[in-house]
């Protein structure tokens, strides 16, 4: 047992002027008679305690939760909480410690044990019977918000798995993750690594770090705590001396490394000092970056009301509320600061049966505050894990660490699932150094797909669509379902018109993506050029992701100076309602070709990189017309026929006469292309370049099975866009731009096109 050192706090006793401010603010004294308050158990009772004489006059000091609110408000700087912690240690030295406190003090050991079979451990922990037993035998309150072990592996597991893909850089930081991140909440660690790497820092996670020892300190087990701390000093101080910041995301860990351990254990050796001075709370460190102008603010709007509670341990750092300051920079995020004193849990305090109710009563102030922020609040936020668990317990709302909020705002974290989003592979966000301000015109399936995927990788996206889309977007965000499940994408700015999109833009658009049906192109272009003229904004590059072949020329004619890019998407995606799409087959093929623009167009290159980062399998084509016409061939297939017959593609292709008609139409189209010098290409698994000669010459019975397999299968039972248009009774139809284009081009090239004309 280490001797308890009183020297460093004793002198502060004499500063007490008996003003009782501490007692007025002590959250525990406010709710229970069992605790007479800081002034009494601290400076007052201290007069009766003697160094080395383990006789505390008053065991009620055990009810001090160690929240340090008293230290914060005392006008004369009495270290009351430290006095109390020492007094408790004296009691432990004298009377020993119950098993329960020993267990709760060994967070790390528990973490390791549970991680061996997390499913089982969680079951035992959340199971009513075992909780009753735990309460009876050990006095761990059965209702208390105990954590659950991570069932997706520990943080260490992830570190190992991601070792090769994590950033290597000359700029390095050391991460102290603490027990909670290691065993219960590895996603906090992942978000932290992502945020640090986003700033260009390599993250070193020494495997030799161990528990900071705080739970032992607060349960009065100073001897065991000292071992832990000395081990951390032995393994981490060399990093400190080498000048690496040691960053933590658990405010209790960082406070312990900095101050609690050295002060309570009276360890002031060179190594402890080095560790103390090199340890940072993540947000305090990021705030320093911000002051140097190096903090990244490439945020996507996070439209949330977020009640934030700075935990006692954060306040005990005495560095203000850096997480609050940085979260305030996120657009759309409405952070509401809690002035509640304490959530009640205070580490392991609220787990103890006799203190559970006190902890809940203390927390009421905070729970009420969260409740007062409105019913559409989806999360609360707090830097400390135990406080988050308590918050969730008391408010029934999920609670998040500010680093999760930050990672979400950068666009690489899913706040609901608490994971790095699928599009984030560790290197992605680094190659996304450029960020295009993109306007997508048309909120149909393709517009929503492009918008969702860009937004999910943190690009700035505005999507102009109909009123029903705008309303859906405002109400619940864009619903995007792919092979990984449903995502609600909120960081897209909806606009009811192109005008509105320009009015709401903070900076000029770099890229405008046209996804409206071809028959709406003219109107959209007119609106766009009006908006450009009235705002004086420079023309963005124009990318047409439309079907058919006349759109690029139309764009080029209306915007004579703009870079024009031809695009064609070959992934089956369907609309499930306004602002709701589903990817039917996760191919994400995207062909891009420069239609008009400088040969080494930077905007073209950036578009390619941006869409690649967004998870599209981008293929660039030297011949943009070839790409578009080949896509036309694909779309022609089925579109017109199905529309007219009201059958699904499978039915059509099962009927050989229909296929023959298709083939006839194709043959015409291929002849036109040939004459106009436009090559047929192999696009996204559709081998048109290879098939073209076959289609033009081979007999129908040879072609049919190939087509059936190639196209009928790809589109499946999904109705092509044309059929949907006809079924919903729209007067105009894209048919004119598909078969019609063949007719027009045929006319120009002097090739007869009777079948296309018919269709």
């Amino acid at each position: 047992m280490a001797p308890i050192a009183w020297e460093s706090v004793d002198h502060s006793l004499d500063e007490c002027i008996k003003c009782n401010i501490c007692t007025s603010y002590c959250p525990v004294a406010a709710v229970t008679d069992l605790f007479p308050g800081p002034k009494y158990v601290g400076p007052q009772a201290q007069r009766f305690r003697e160094n080395g004489q383990p006789h505390s006059p008053d065991h009620s000091v055990d009810y001090c939760s160690g929240c340090r609110v008293c230290n914060e408000v005392c006008p004369t700087g009495v270290k009351i909480a430290e006095l109390n912690a020492r007094a408790r240690a004296e009691i432990v030295a004298e009377h020993g410690l119950p098993l329960r406190n020993r267990l709760l003090g060994r967070n790390e050991t528990l973490g390791k044990l549970g991680s061996i079979a997390p499913g089982l451990a969680n079951f035992a922990l959340q199971n009513g019977l075992s909780r009753v037993l735990a309460e009876k035998i050990m006095g761990i309150a059965r209702e208390a918000p105990l954590p659950t072990w991570s069932t997706t592996g520990t943080f260490q597991d992830w570190l190992r798995a991601s070792a090769r893909t994590r950033l290597k850089s000359d700029k390095k930081v050391v991460y102290f993750h603490g027990c909670a991140t290691m065993y219960y909440e590895p996603f906090i660690g992942r978000a932290t690594v992502a945020v640090l790497e986003h700033h260009g820092y390599e993250v070193i996670v020494p495997t030799t770090q161990n528990c900071c020892g705080l739970p032992l300190l607060s349960n009065g087990e100073f001897g065991a705590a000292e071992k832990y701390h000395k081990n951390n000093v032995a393994h981490l101080s060399s990093y400190a001396r080498a000048g690496f910041p040691i960053i933590g995301t658990s405010t209790s860990c960082t406070l312990t490394l900095q101050e609690e351990a050295p002060e309570l254990l009276d360890l002031h050796d060179e190594g402890s000092d080095a560790l103390k001075m090199a340890t940072w709370d993540l947000f305090e460190w990021l705030r320093e970056l911000h002051e140097k102008g190096e903090f990244r603010t490439d945020f996507k709007p996070l439209n949330l009301v977020l009640p934030y509670h700075a935990p006692c341990q954060m306040r005990a750092h005495r560095v203000g509320k850096p997480a609050l300051e940085l979260m305030a920079l996120i657009p759309g995020l409405d952070v509401r600061e809690s002035h509640a004193r304490c959530c009640g849990i205070a580490g392991t305090y609220g787990y103890k049966q006799e203190k559970y109710q006190i902890a809940m009563d203390v927390g009421e102030e905070l729970f009420d505050f969260v409740g007062e922020q409105g019913t559409d609040v989806r999360y609360s936020a707090c830097d400390s894990e135990t406080c988050r668990w308590q918050l969730e317990h008391g408010t029934h709302l999920p609670s998040r660490h500010p680093v999760e909020i930050l990672a979400a705002a950068y666009g690489f974290y899913d706040l609901d699932k608490r994971e790095l989003i699928s599009a984030y592979t560790v290197n992605d966000h680094r190659s996304t150094t450029m960020s295009l301000n993109t306007l997508i015109i048309g909120a149909g399936a393709i517009g929503c797909l492009a918008g969702a995927k860009l937004a999910l990788t943190g690009q700035t996206v505005t999507l102009a669509g109909r009123a029903s889309f705008v309303q859906a977007m405002r109400e619940r965000g864009l619903s995007y379902t792919d092979e990984t499940g449903q995502h609600i994408v909120r960081n897209i700015r909806p606009a009811g018109s192109i005008d509105e999109a320009f009015a709401r833009a903070e900076s000029a658009f770099d890229l405008a993506v046209l996804t409206v049906k071809s028959y709406d192109t003219t109107a959209a272009l007119a609106e766009l050029s009006d908006a450009l003229a009235s705002t004086g904004a420079p023309a963005p590059a124009l990318l047409s992701m439309q079907n058919g072949v006349g759109n690029e020329d139309a764009i080029a004619a209306v915007l004579p100076a703009a870079t024009v890019i031809a695009g064609s998407i070959t992934t089956p995606v369907s609309m499930q309602g306004p602002g709701a799409i589903r990817v039917d087959k996760p191919r994400y093929g995207l062909g891009l070709g420069l239609w008009r623009g400088p040969a080494e167009s930077a905007l073209f290159a950036e578009s390619v990189a941006t869409f690649t980062n967004a998870g599209f399998a981008v293929k660039t084509f030297a011949s943009a017309p070839g790409m578009k016409w080949t896509k036309l061939l694909m779309n022609m297939m089925g579109n017109a026929i199905v529309a007219i017959l009201g059958e699904t593609p499978e039915q059509v292709f099962a009927d050989s006469r229909m296929v023959d008609l298709e083939i006839a139409a194709w043959r015409e189209a291929l002849a036109v292309m040939d004459k106009a010098g436009i090559p047929a290409l192999n696009i996204d698994g559709y081998p048109f370049a290879t098939l073209a000669p076959l289609i033009r010459t081979a007999p129908g019975f040879l072609i049919r099975p190939v087509l059936r397999a190639q196209i009928g299968g790809a589109r499946g039972g999904k109705l092509p866009s044309l059929a949907i248009d006809l079924q919903s009774g729209k007067p105009r139809s894209e048919v004119f731009w598909l078969n019609g284009a063949v007719v027009d081009k045929g006319k120009a090239a002097g090739v007869p096109t009777p079948v296309n004309r018919l269709l």
């Binding site: 008679d33 101050e259 750092h317």
Partner: protein, 417 residues
């Protein structure tokens, strides 16, 4: 970058911060702990005893000729102080914690102190103001069994001895709370509960006699003060008033909370637990103030700095056994004689006050600290409140008047530069 860093979160600091924020400055307040408002009755005393006399001044604006020449009031003048206090009163109304003043603006009002003496105040929270002894309306002083530091019998006796008719009643503490051990703040919080308000109202109703007003310790609600007052008035049909208690003082806690809520709304952070341990000046301008943390000190940069740490009692000055006496943040020159022999008069409660209490930081007409030669020490530093030289706010009973008026004057000076 901040326009203004205020050091100190007492009445001076909070007033200065609010005034500055309202005139458009970006402001932050740092403080070692929560300020002295917690041990004040939260009345605004302007001038109770301008001269060493046992008789309180009827008119706070008179008798100033006996104040030292360096007294800040001479520089401000009555008219300006009145205007500042009007502005302060308007704040309290807007904050839902309205203060009242004597119908005659040239009159102090006498209110009962915690032991039943008469205190000359200028503004007081409405709840206290109804204890004005001028009307001599009889008082029922109600206390509670087991509540520390409030003795209704003693109070009533003292009041009666001074000609204010009063009698007392002692109610069981159980009326307020089930707790055995609660301080004034806890009791006030308990009364936020409407059921407790009713219970107390009923108990008072049966004790009060027609024509009496009821004086209670200042624990009538913490967050729900207005409701408590309304409920008790409604149930008893009598005028209810509060008498301040010893520390912690609930009216002080209420005023702090109200001002901090307002500061929060206008974007001013108040950070407690921040002890200034150093600063840096380049040339004659302060660049930053450093406060201690659990690790590396942090630096607070600002264009201007306002020192509002209070005098000896507020913690703005410190001394050691060698007789050194210093201002704790910027080591500013003080008017305090270095010879300790001159600090105190032989009697601690000498009506002339203690010389050391009227020493402090000397400022020029722009409220900027100056040295013995009258030269500005730092061109972006201002000072206000209890640390200013020339006043003995404790003896004069001018603490809050001085705090508010000098805070407002200093902010005005720094914004009209």
């Amino acid at each position: 970058m901040l326009d203004l860093l205020v050091i100190g979160a007492g009445l001076t600091g909070l007033t200065a911060a609010l005034r500055a924020a309202e005139s458009g400055l970006k402001v932050k307040v740092i403080a070692k702990g929560l300020g002295s408002l917690h041990w004040s009755a939260a009345t605004v005393d302007v001038m109770g005893y301008p001269a060493p006399s046992p008789v309180a001044a009827k008119n706070p604006w008179e008798g100033w000729q006996s104040l030292p020449a360096a007294h800040p009031y001479h520089r401000l003048g009555a008219k300006r102080i009145k205007a500042d206090l009007d502005a302060f009163q308007a704040w309290t109304v807007a904050l839902g914690l309205p203060y009242a003043a004597n119908a005659d603006p040239d009159r102090n009002t006498l209110l009962p102190s915690p032991v039943g003496a008469f205190r000359p105040v200028y503004l007081a929270p409405k709840a206290q103001f109804a204890g004005d002894v001028a009307s001599r309306q009889p008082m029922l002083i109600a206390g509670f069994d087991g509540v520390r530091d409030f003795y209704p019998q003693l109070l009533a006796d003292n009041l009666a001895a001074q000609g204010q008719p009063a009698r007392s009643v002692l109610l069981p503490q159980i009326t307020l709370t089930d707790r055995h051990d609660a301080n004034t703040v806890h009791l006030a919080e308990a009364l936020d509960d409407p059921a407790r308000q009713t219970a107390l109202g009923v108990a008072l109703k049966s004790a009060v006699q027609p024509g009496e007003r009821i004086g209670l310790p200042a624990i009538l609600g913490l967050r729900a003060h207005t409701q408590v007052m309304e409920a008790l008035t409604r149930i008893t049909g009598a005028t209810i008033f509060e008498i301040p208690t010893l520390t912690p003082s609930v009216p002080g806690v209420r005023l702090t909370a109200a001002l901090r809520t307002r500061l929060d709304q206008v974007g001013v952070r108040v950070e407690a637990g921040m002890e200034a341990i150093g600063f840096n000046a380049t040339g004659d301008a302060i660049e930053w103030v450093e406060t201690s943390t659990s690790s590396r000190p942090i630096r607070h940069r600002a264009r201007n700095f306002l020192l509002a740490t209070g005098g000896v009692l507020g913690g703005g000055f410190s001394s050691d056994h060698t007789g050194r006496f210093w201002e704790v943040v910027f080591q500013l020159p003080l008017t305090t004689p270095q010879d300790r022999g001159q600090w105190f008069r032989p009697q601690f409660f000498d009506p002339a006050g203690q010389p050391v209490f009227s020493t402090g930081v000397a400022v020029n007409e722009r409220w900027q600290p100056v040295d013995a030669d009258g030269k500005i020490v730092y061109r972006n530093l201002w000072a206000a409140g209890g640390l200013l030289a020339g006043a003995d706010p404790i003896q004069e009973r001018s603490l809050e008047g001085l705090a508010i008026s000098t805070a407002m004057a200093a902010v005005e000076s720094l914004t009209t530069r």
